[in-house]
Every structure is written in C-alpha cells, then in structure tokens.
Assembly symmetry: C2
Homo-oligomer: 430 residues x 2
C-alpha cells in the first residue's frame, strides 16, 4: 500500500466518526426537545459542581497541552490564552451556573393572534436543533458554548483547536457527567473525537445533513474559511470595524470619555473602536483634545491631513486604514464634511457591526441611528457595550454581523427558532 492510502484512511475514519456523531446529536436534540426543560438547567448546575471537583485533573490536562504547546513553539500570548488556573476553572464553573439561571428561552410565546374563524395561533420559541461550534484553542469555549446550546435546547457538536485538546476533553467530560446526572442524552454535548482537520471539513459539509447552523469562534482566518466553505447557515462576524463619529453637536467631555473608552478599554474585543470620524465644524475645537486623549492613553494615531495638522504625532493614514480592524492600540482618524459624509464613510468602509454617534443634537442622532445599517448603533455611549452580557442577554456565543436570523449578540434566545401552534375545533378552509 502506498503512503497516500495511509493518509486517506484515517481521514475517512474521522469523517465517518463525525457523521456518526452528527446522527447521535440529532437524536439527542429530539430527546432534549421532549425532556422536561428544568433538566437542562440541572445538567449545567451538576456540570459546574463536577468541574470544581475535577479541577486538579483539568489543570493537569491543561499542563499537558501547555507542555506540548511549548515544544511546538507556540507564542507566549497563545499559551496565555490556553492556560488555565484554579481561578479560571472557577470562573468557568460560575459561567455554567449563570447560564443555568437564565430564564428558559424554549417555549416562550412570541406572538398570539386569533383569527375571525376562531383559530388561535401562537408563535412559540423552539430550539434550532443541532449547532456546530468550531473554535480555536480556548478551553473555556468548550464550557461556554456547550452551556448556551444546552440551555436553548439544542444539541451541540464541539470542535476545539487541537492545541487545547486535552483541556477541552477534560472540561467536556464534566459537561457529559452533568447530562448523565440529569438523565439527558450524553450526545447532547458532543465533541470531535480527534484533532484532525478532517473533522472541521465534515462539519462544514453539515455532518451528513444533521447540523442546522455553525458558529465559528476565533480569528479572521477561521471565520473566513467557515463562511466561505460551510454548506449550512453560519452565525459569524468576520470583523468589527467600529466607528465613533463625533458630530458638530458633540459635547467635548462626553466625546473624549466615550472615545477613549471605546478604543482603549480593551483593544482586542470586536466592539473596540477602530476609526474616529470628526465633523468638520467640530474639528477646530475637538480634534486636538480627542487626539491628545488617545495618545495620552497609549494609542497610536493615524490620520488624514487635518488630523496630522492637529497634532504632529499623528502619522498619515491611507485608505487601507479605513478598512482595517487593528484590534490593537491604533486608531484611524478622519475629518468629514457632514453627518451624511460620516454615514457614507461607515457604509463604505464599515463592517455593519457597531457604530456610535456622539452629539447633543437629537435630530442628528436619530438620523444616524436610522441610516447606519449596523447590528448595533449607539448614541452617546461607548461601543464596548457591544456585548450580550451588557445587553442583559446573559452570556453570548458571539456577535453576528450577518442579517439572517440573529444579528448582534447571539445569546440563548437567538439560538432558538419558532413554530406556529394552531388550535381549532373543527375549522376547515372554504
């Protein structure tokens, strides 16, 4: 036999195993939908307890991942994201309990209407079915994503990054123990049994028709690949090219405070501002203090000629900067002629994620909120509020910039679909 056969064989095995997992997850989804709903929360509470009990085992699985990662030469930043501590394990356990405590999103009556013929129609929230989650080597995602899917009545197939293989396996085992304790099928939270890339390919193909939606969690190249190749719907945001627009009606102190928070509170989150737009009429009074505040907070500033003229530390920006999600302490600054020009810039270069106007002019604010076509539009508030927790949704599995089904923070409610229940007493259609 040739080497080619040796390569193909295990891949075919992984693919067959993944399709089998898909089938089991589909069966589990149906069992979940029919089981008493409180069992889903019980399973999460039990999983949190098991997670605490097994903290030493989880930390030693994590130590193994870290040792292998060092051997592979992973960067310190990567290893830091991978590393678990007792505190991080406790935070994961608490996260499970918080999701368990959320109101049940399944069975919510979303609308009711009665028809003249006496039919009573309800739109009721139901689980989506089977969710596939493809993520990078962050062990906590195993627990977060598993919990959100279970709470919303969905079965989930998890495929984490290969560098967190042992940590994820240990955490996954706790979730399965919770399911078992609550009398729910273990396949409700399934996990790719191998770190093989073929597992990802099979998920993108839909696991033989069993996946209803895929959620990628990770960097741009992962999300990009999933969006390009998936044959099932995807909840994803590719980029958060987030704007703060300081209108001519802006209050100076609010503008400085909101801008610095939007950019610098955490630079690596998707709601972090990447571009500052300033109305030409506001520039004389505000451009300089805004730039000084940014630089004072440790931010590098790239700008158009007006911004460069305002502060000699500003380096030139090119069009490429308007399209860049830095996820770093860098911002691009541009002076625009009008509110319309600001909206035009955002529609041209933005990513429909989160955008903010700072102004005391209500009419300008309302126009911005109406015309900017982004999942989240804010008036006089930091863009870093773009977060399911800050919206009161509890934990989120991500922020969707697509337009179908979910948009903005994807929490347990957004992981549901609905059906119509129609109650009659013998009505027929004429």
């Amino acid at each position: 036999m040739s080497a080619a056969v040796q390569i193909v064989e295990p891949e075919a095995e992984v693919r067959a195993a993944m399709r089998a997992i898909g089938g089991q997850a589909r069966a589990a989804a149906r069992a979940l939908a029919n089981a008493p709903s409180e069992r889903r929360s019980q399973a999460l509470t039990a999983a949190a307890r098991v997670l605490r009990e097994r903290a030493p085992a989880i930390l030693s699985a994590n130590a193994r991942d870290l040792a292998e990662g060092e051997t592979k030469g992973l960067t310190p930043a990567f290893l830091d994201r991978l590393a678990l501590t007792e505190g991080r394990v406790e935070a994961i356990a608490r996260g499970l309990e918080e999701v368990a405590a959320l109101p049940d999103p399944v069975g919510r009556v979303l609308a009711t209407f009665s028809r003249p013929n006496g039919l009573a129609i309800e739109r009721v929230a139901t689980p989506l079915g089977v969710v596939g989650v493809i993520y990078e080597s962050r062990p906590n995602v195993t627990a977060d994503a598993g919990a959100l899917c279970l709470k919303s009545g969905n079965a989930v197939v998890l495929r984490g990054g290969s560098d967190s293989f042992h940590s994820s396996a240990a955490i996954h085992a706790c979730l399965v123990a919770g399911l078992r304790e609550a009398g729910l099928p273990e396949a409700a939270i399934s996990r790719a049994p191998s770190a093989s890339r073929a597992a990802v390919g099979e998920m993108l193909a839909g696991l033989g028709g069993t996946l209803d939606v895929i959620v990628p969690r990770g960097g741009k190249s992962l999300v990009d690949r999933v969006q390009r190749e998936a044959r099932v719907p995807v909840f994803a945001h590719l980029e958060g090219i987030v704007h703060v627009y300081v209108d001519r009606g802006a209050d100076r102190d609010k503008a400085v405070k909101i801008l610095v928070n939007a950019k610098m509170r955490r630079t690596g989150v998707c709601g972090a501002a990447e571009t500052l737009l300033v109305h030409r009429d506001a520039a004389p009074a505000l451009l300089k203090p805004l730039i000084e505040a940014l630089i004072g907070a440790g931010c590098a500033v790239r700008g158009d000629p007006a911004a460069q003229a305002a502060d000699s530390r500003v380096t030139p920006a090119t069009e490429e900067d308007w399209r860049t999600e830095y996820l770093d302490a860098i911002i691009a600054v541009r002076v625009v002629d009008s509110l319309e020009a600001a909206i035009d810039h955002i529609e041209t270069f933005g990513s429909h994620h989160t955008d903010c106007i700072v102004t005391e002019d209500e009419a300008a604010a309302e126009r911005f909120l109406k015309e900017v076509d982004s999942a989240i539009v804010l008036h006089n508030a930091s863009t870093q509020f773009a977060d399911g927790g800050e919206f009161g949704f509890g934990a989120e599995i991500g922020i969707a910039t697509g337009r179908m089904h979910a948009r903005g923070p994807v929490g347990v409610e957004q992981l549901c679909t609905f059906k119509y229940r129609v109650r009659g007493d013998g009505q027929i259609r004429p």
Copy 2:
C-alpha cells in the same frame, strides 16, 4: 473564432449585466431605507393603477408568450398557468393594493429594555437588504414578489421563467412606473434582462456579494437546485409532506370533515395532506368511514394492510408512499399503535412543513403540538390553513420549512431583519 467562444461570450455578458444589476439594487436598497416609508405604499398603489391602464398591452405581451409556448409544445396545464385574462390582471392589481395597505413592517419596535446603567436599548425591524427571487413562468409572481419586497423596504432582483418573459416584462414595467411616480429608485425592483440560464447561476452566486437572501418559487427541481447551489441564504420549502393524525380520542365527524378538506380542497397546494395516520384504537370505528369519505370525494387511497382490510378499493402502500408529496388526489394511509408512533412516523418521513392532530383529548393534542417539529402544527383544523393570508400576514412570498430566520409563511414581516438602537448620555464601560 470557435463556436465555444460564441457560446461563452453572451454568457459572460449576462453575468456582467447581472452583477451590475446587483450593484444598482444594493444602492437602491440604501435609498429605500432612507426614503419616507409611505412612498413604498404609494409606489404600489400607483403601479396598480398603471397595471389597469396597461391591461391591453400586458395581455398582448402575454399572447406572445402563449403563442411561443404553443410552438414550443408546452402542456395545456403549463399554458393555463401562464395565461392572463382581464380578470387575472385585475386580481394582480388588487394584490398590489392589498400589499400597499398592510401595516408598515419596517421600523417596528420589536423589544425595548433599559439597563441598570441607564442605556435604553431597542430592537427595531429593518429591511433585509436585497432579495433575489427565482421563479417559474407564472406572470403574477413578478407583481406579488416585487410588491412584498418593496413593502418590506427591500430591493429585489427578479428572475422569472423564460416562457413568461414578455408578460413579466410588461408587468415589471408597471412596477417601475409606480416607483418612478413615488420618487423611488427604479432599481428597487430589478429584473434579469435576459432569459439566459446564466442569470440564475449569477444570482445563486450572490450577484457579486449584493444578494442577502434568495427565494425560489416553483417546483421541486428548481427549489432543490437553488438549495444545493446557492452561496447565500435561501427561504425555501422543498416539500410539504403533510400529515393528518386521527387520534384515538378523535371525534368522528370532525375527523372526516378535516381530513377531506385537508386532502381535497385543493390537492396541488403545499398544505394539502398527503398521509393519514390513524390510531389503532380508533381504526375499528373510524378507518372505514374516513377512507369512504376520501374515495367519495374522488381521492385514490393507498394503504397498509389494515387500511386495505377496511376497504377493498385501497391499494397497497410501500415505504416510498410515506415519503411522497403527491400534490394530487392520492393519499397514503397507515394505522399506528400510539400517539408516539404517529409522532415518530411524522419525524421520520415528514418534511417539517404542516401537520395536524384530530382529537378531543387535550393532553394528546398538547403533546403533539409540542413534539412534532414542524413549522405549523394544528389541532382540530385543516392543514390547508397553512397560508400567510389565513394567518393574517397578508400575502406571502412562500412557506419556509428551514429553521433559520423565517419559518412557516413568509410575509412582509419575515422579509425584515432587525438592529439594536442604543441611547445613552455618556455611558462608558467600566
């Protein structure tokens, strides 16, 4: 130059033209979103008037399609669906007025919540963007689909069947006249300029990133192709394998009346029943009268051994029958051991479209409504109520059996997405 080049050239031209149309539709979508909303209704009312004025021209365009269709040897049934009359043109005009009169689905506040930090958050309905509609040779779809998309603030790119090319062009011109009269961009309702199949291919590829969703309207092979090949989301239902389950707690008269209506009112609609399931305990009293009523109404009955034993006119059913959408005066009948067995049958062979239980046992009804995972589940009412109009949604662009975004009848509300508007007064995130 070779023959191959002659074939490739026009296709490349069609593809380029389609992408240009996509770009114009995208620009029109933005203009629509920012125009006063009442203009959308004005455009439809004006289009209805123009349609009536131009009825003779529309009928002569239709006569041309019919003549070409006869030459091509299209079937009489096909030609009948293609044919317009003065009455049908009037019905199309009235349809436009009815859509114009619907409440505006755009800007509806779907949810509001205030956060402890004082942020006021609203979830507001917004248009989806650009909708692609691919349909067969039914001229009325040009008007129906164009109207529903416009009313919901979307731009639309229409690609109708080549056999209705001239009729669709004439109707489309009336819609464009309405847009012009209301001061809206003509590209808001765009139409593939050629009957070429390359136009469909380009739409399935997303018109260079401009289409947000595709709606196929037509037979199984069209819908199947769109679902397989589309690189953008699709609202589609492939089949309506619709069940009526007569429970052991069923009232005999209701069961007969509902079943005959569900199957025979119109056999060609997607909400028409295709399979009858009867509880074993109900079979002795009900199976024979149910089958007699069906046969008496002109329906051919195929059945399992129990059904065959109940009436000698019943022919044998095979498993293939459980999977078949007849869309004709044929039904498959099976006796099941229990409510659970009925639900199992529906989950195994159904298409998650519409299913009904007939029973006076409330507990059985609630269990059926909960556990059957279909877009529409009914208790004691005909499955032929599976229709946007019957739900009070106004006209529908189709019935979605997918689970993402829209499920069940897709009317103007389902052609919307949403965004979050967040109003603050200087809040920053700690």
